[in-house]
């Protein structure tokens, strides 16, 4: 068997048409996950009663189980909850009318929230306590100090970690294939089964993922340089 290079190019063109869907499935969960992560990180740092232990469990459960499990648990678990709630509240909602993509996005968001919260927590804890004291000393309130001093520094220190999470979740979208979502691997499978050229199709998918990952890493590197420009040292 020889590798059909022309078909790799064909498949590449065909498969890259669904790249926007994959990017959407990456960006939405990561952004929502950062939002969840900020809230979870604050609750855990402040050691709020009842909520902190609960969120500790949330973070360690989602970090301790494979992402495919989150997708499956949400896909099979949420419809049951929706149906029970709809029955109890007499709402006209049926779980079967929810698109599969929604379950994938929900699962990835919950998962991203757990990973992001750990990054934000370590980012906030890495800012010296003197920064907060200095902010208080010039008369800022807690929320002003957080928004203007602590969080910007925490985020700029966390950029490499966020890049890893972003690329990790870009790769995690490939798991939606198991729910037959037509993302990159799903389409590759279709293209491959028509022509029975699986290797070529997966080489094309590999190249697409690789290209996007390299671009994201390059952009993140440039962003990091800009954001940490204040910290270059020297005069």
């Amino acid at each position: 068997m020889t590798i059909d290079f022309a078909f790799i190019f064909e498949a590449f063109k065909e498969i890259s048409k669904v790249l926007p869907l994959t990017l959407f499935m990456t960006i939405t969960p990561v952004l929502l996950g950062i939002l969840i992560g900020v809230i979870v990180a604050f609750v855990r740092i402040q050691r709020t009663k009842f909520f902190a232990p609960l969120l500790n469990f949330y973070v360690s459960f989602f970090r301790g189980t494979p992402i495919i499990m989150h997708i499956m648990l949400v896909y099979f678990g949420v419809p049951i909850i929706v149906d029970v709630l709809a029955k109890a509240l007499k709402l006209n909602v049926q779980s079967s009318s929810i698109p599969i993509l929604f379950f994938v996005l929900l699962a990835l968001t919950l998962s991203a929230g757990a990973y992001a919260s750990e990054i934000i927590r370590s980012g906030i804890l890495s800012v010296p306590k003197g920064q907060l004291e200095a902010a208080y000393a010039v008369g800022l309130t807690f929320s002003q100090a957080m928004r203007r001093y602590i969080l910007p520094q925490a985020f700029s220190k966390s950029i490499p970690n966020f890049t890893n999470v972003f690329i990790g979740f870009l790769h995690a979208t490939s798991l939606a294939f198991f729910l037959s979502v037509k993302e990159l691997i799903g389409v590759a499978n279709i293209v491959a089964s028509i022509n029975l050229k699986f290797l070529e199709a997966f080489i094309a998918v590999g190249l697409i993922y690789w290209g996007v990952s390299v671009i994201v890493e390059w952009l993140a590197h440039r962003l990091e340089k800009r954001v940490t420009a204040y910290n270059k040292g020297g005069i």
Binding site: M1, I3, S60, F61, R63, G64, T65, P66, I67, I68, M69, M72, L73, F76, G77, I80, D83, I167, L170, H171, A172, S174, L175, F177, F178, I185, F198, L199, F202, I203, V205, G206, Y209, W210, G211, V212, S213, V214
Partner: protein, 234 residues
């Protein structure tokens, strides 16, 4: 209601799934072991700045880091038989287990190579000069001075790679390996109770990850035993 959640079923399937835990652990142990050896092997040309070889390895590491493990699984599963067919070896009937171990080895090797390289570079240059000044030769300096310090720096990252590798083994079923998840899939087919089975699988993974984390944490403390207290972040 037929859709009632069945707690008893979770307890019933847990022992069945645990029988397949050795398969999952086998994938993990072999891929970590071979991955470390290969990782050391490919870290050396990068550390010694051997041209061409170094560039090839950089591209290899970038490719592994830039593609999902699922794509790598499929590439190995379809690619290795195609490659071996050129030299007239037929491996289409080979156990899928080998393909899985090869994939995870290749994937772990890239991660380990980067970890080893970075950790050796963190050891202060003065350390090797000090080693030479007390009369050690190059090999002794590496084994006695550089390596133990690099290991201390590398260990948390090695631990993270092991844990994410353990979670990645959950995808081995996609090319037909009968591991825990593979057995779970057949149980779903026979009981039609997907949620309970995935919950049972999640519990098993969660417990193993927690145990592995505990073991690795205590090892990390052991490696840090000579460090001053405040320098060790818990």
């Amino acid at each position: 209601m037929a859709n009632d959640f069945d707690f008893v079923l979770i307890a019933k399937v847990l022992p069945i799934l645990l029988q397949y835990l050795p398969v999952t652990l086998e994938i993990l142990v072999f891929s970590i072991l071979f991955g470390m050896l290969l990782g050391i092997g490919i870290a050396i040309p990068k550390l010694l700045h051997i041209n061409i070889l170094r560039q090839i390895i950089t591209i290899y590491i970038s490719f592994i880091r830039g593609t999902p493990i699922l794509v790598q699984l499929f590439l190995v599963f379809y690619g290795i038989p195609a490659l071996l067919k050129i030299v007239h070896i037929d491996v289409t009937r080979m156990d899928a287990m080998y393909f899985v171990i090869i994939t995870y080895t290749l994937s772990n090797a890239a991660a380990f190579a980067e970890i080893f390289r970075a950790s050796i570079l963190t050891v202060d240059r003065g350390q090797i000069e000090a080693a030479y000044s007390v009369g050690l030769n190059g090999k002794q300096a590496f084994v006695r001075i550089i390596f133990p310090q690099a290991l201390r720096v590398a260990f948390p990252n090695i631990a993270n790679t092991m844990i994410s590798s353990l979670k990645d083994t959950s995808l081995a079923f996609s090319i037909g390996v009968m591991d825990m998840v593979g057995r779970g899939e057949t149980l779903i087919a026979s009981t039609t109770r997907a949620l309970e089975i995935y919950l049972a699988l999640s519990i098993v993974y969660f417990v193993i990850v927690m145990l592995l984390e505990k073991v690795l944490k205590s090892n990390e403390r052991y490696l840090n035993r000579y460090m001053p207290k405040e320098a060790v972040s818990s």
